[in-house]
């Protein structure tokens, strides 16, 4: 674990990324304390203003404070990122492990199902799912989680195939270890590292997907502030006040970028071959 910690602060880029993610988490957790205004409080006399000392990041078309909305939006972003990745790992990884360990018919059945899921364009599938379930934050989590299941399943299966060919797995079989114990105690700990790396990339992807769904109007509904909703609302006033779209866009970009950098750092830190 020390190797991982060392990698996470290996360079300025990693440190900045770590700070960005910690800021995001802090904003999500302590939004009511940090936000200077109520994110839903409209002010008809102060619409579409640029940054000022009162509204650090300006106001939107209803006069709501952009900074406050950005901070509250972090809650939805963090919740969707964590929730959807949790769903996809919870279903994808066990399916992949079972598939890769038992092979044969089990593998064929599971993988055809996963392939079918994979065959849909991801955003289209999540659009359909949210349309069916109805727009809400939890349904966005489910929709985005479901479309990421194939990624985690395939990763876990590929790794399980490699690890189950290792002598220690065959050796475990020769002492009569039950299959569920082999999967849980021999396969899973040895494939956890790539899954953790994929987790950071999956979170970045989920943030983008949530923003896209909200932007298209099927995700989290206004007035709940989310970065995607802010981006979509600001788009109509791009010529009057480009800040409105630029700020949430920048927030999404920085978060996704930071998650990708951390994912790379984790991959290096968790790879025993790169340790010295």
């Amino acid at each position: 674990m020390r190797d991982v910690a060392v990698r996470l602060v290996a360079g300025p880029l990693e440190i900045v990324s770590l700070i960005v993610i910690l800021l995001l988490v802090a904003a999500a957790v302590a939004a009511p304390l940090l936000a200077p205004f109520d994110p839903a409080a409209a002010d008809g006399f102060n619409t579409l203003r640029g940054p000022s000392s009162r509204n650090l990041l300006g106001t939107d078309f209803l006069g709501r404070d952009v900074l406050s909305r950005l901070i509250y939006g972090a809650q939805v972003t963090a919740a969707v990122a964590i929730g959807s990745v949790a769903i996809s790992i919870l279903f994808g990884v066990p399916l992949g492990l079972v598939s890769g360990y038992f092979k044969g018919l089990t593998d064929t059945v599971i993988m055809r199902f996963i392939d079918a899921l994979y065959a849909f364009p991801p955003l289209l599938l999540s659009l359909v799912l949210v349309a069916m379930l109805g727009p809400s934050m939890y349904n966005v989590m489910i929709a985005v989680g479901v479309i990421m299941i194939p990624t985690f399943c395939r990763l876990a299966r590929a790794q399980a195939l490699v690890v189950s060919a290792q002598t220690y797995v065959v050796a475990a079989q020769t002492i009569g270890t039950p299959a569920h114990r082999i999967i849980l105690w021999h396969l899973w700990p040895n494939i956890a590292a790539p899954v953790i790396v994929q987790l950071t990339i999956g979170m970045a992807w989920a943030i983008l997907a949530e923003a896209a769904l909200s932007y298209l109007g099927v995700g989290v509904r206004p007035p709940t502030p989310t970065w995607g909703v802010m981006l979509a609302e600001g788009f109509q006033y791009l010529r009057i006040n480009p800040w409105l779209s630029f700020i949430p866009g920048m927030a999404i970009f920085l978060t996704v970028f930071a998650l990708n950098i951390l994912g790379d750092a984790l991959r290096d830190g968790l790879d025993p071959r790169l340790r010295n």
Partner: protein, 326 residues
């Protein structure tokens, strides 16, 4: 060891079929042998001769569906192992039959301590709790001559040397006091002094406990020194078998003789080169007709490529599968 006692393991006519992309071939063909209690049976042969596959077949771990046992029987203490399902077979593995592997570097799981791994079979088969299993694990590790066993139980495989890992593997294999142990080239990856120690531990344990030991190896030196009985395999068939002294004293099959001619000796003439066996062993899918060894055999005549010679007892206990008779 009394002669009247029924053998512990009787492999009879064992045949395995490999199917790859619609093509089928026999990887093992009519393999038969016996192992008695306390006896060390060595299986020798070059890579691809079917030594390891024989071991996997006994363990019920053939890579199905690509490889299946299609004929014959493996009788262990009255039960035909080939008729058992995976769940029934699992009760035998680790408890009554255990196996150790060639690569001590990769046969232990890197994420668990040595103690944890030696304890596992005790927990599955003997129903011991973690604590009791760990106590037994310490005794086992001491039995395979690892010093300071108690302390070393908490170490991870990467903190062990190759020889110590192989000892830990043997300790795991011995945990439930099995009646049969299969050692698949247990010393190939180790240096010579460690090799001798490991093999002595294995042989002494086998004799002391009356445990049958199948030693798979390609080293004739190992066979001569540690085994009671030797089985020589070529291209998936047994070509010669018998007591070690008998087979090495009067090797009958040209392949056995070839193997012996390419072993360097300490007192040999430095000028006389080792004699390799000409040619290459065949693959599973391109086995020659008749006796599979005939393309490489100095004694081959027309019958050899027409008919497969059966394994025949020509002296008490000494079998050969060869048409040539001088």
């Amino acid at each position: 060891m009394t002669v009247s006692e029924p053998p512990l393991l009787t492999v009879e006519g064992l045949t395995t079929t490999v199917s790859v992309q619609g093509r089928q071939a026999h990887a093992l063909d009519d393999v038969s042998f016996q192992v008695r209690k306390g006896e060390c049976v060595a299986i020798v042969g070059e890579s691809g001769s079917g030594k390891s596959m024989t071991a996997l077949a006994i363990m019920g771990l053939l890579p199905e569906p690509q490889v299946r046992a299609t004929a014959g029987s493996i009788r262990f203490d009255g039960t035909d192992l080939l008729t058992l399902n995976q769940e029934q077979m699992r009760a035998f593995r680790g408890d009554r039959i255990s196996m150790i592997f060639q690569e001590p570097m990769t046969s232990l799981n890197p994420v668990f301590t040595i103690g944890h791994q030696i304890s596992e079979p005790l927990i599955y088969h003997k129903g011991l709790g973690r604590k009791a299993a760990r106590k037994k694990a310490a005794q086992l590790l001491a039995q395979v001559q690892v010093a300071d066993a108690e302390h070393r139980l908490s170490l991870y495989p990467h903190q062990f040397s190759g020889g110590m890992r192989q000892r830990a593997m043997i300790a795991t294999g011995l945990a439930c006091d099995p009646e049969l142990m299969i050692a698949d080239e247990p010393t190939t990856a180790l240096d010579v002094t460690i090799q001798a120690q490991i093999l002595e531990i294995l042989r002494d344990l086998a004799r002391g406990r009356g445990m049958g030991l199948i030693l798979i190896t390609h080293s004739l030196g190992v066979v001569a020194r540690y085994a009671d009985t030797v089985i020589v395999m070529y291209a998936g068939r047994v070509v010669e078998s018998g007591p070690v002294a008998e087979v090495f004293g009067r090797p009958k099959h040209p392949y056995t003789r070839g193997l012996m001619a390419c072993v360097p000796t300490m007192d040999g003439d430095l000028e006389s080169a080792l004699v390799p066996i000409d040619g290459q062993p065949s693959g599973v899918f391109d086995r020659p007709s008749g006796c599979a060894f005939h393309p490489r055999c100095p004694l081959a005549f027309d019958r050899c490529w027409a008919e497969t010679p059966p394994l025949e007892e020509f002296r008490p206990g000494h079998h050969k599968a060869c048409w040539a008779d001088e």
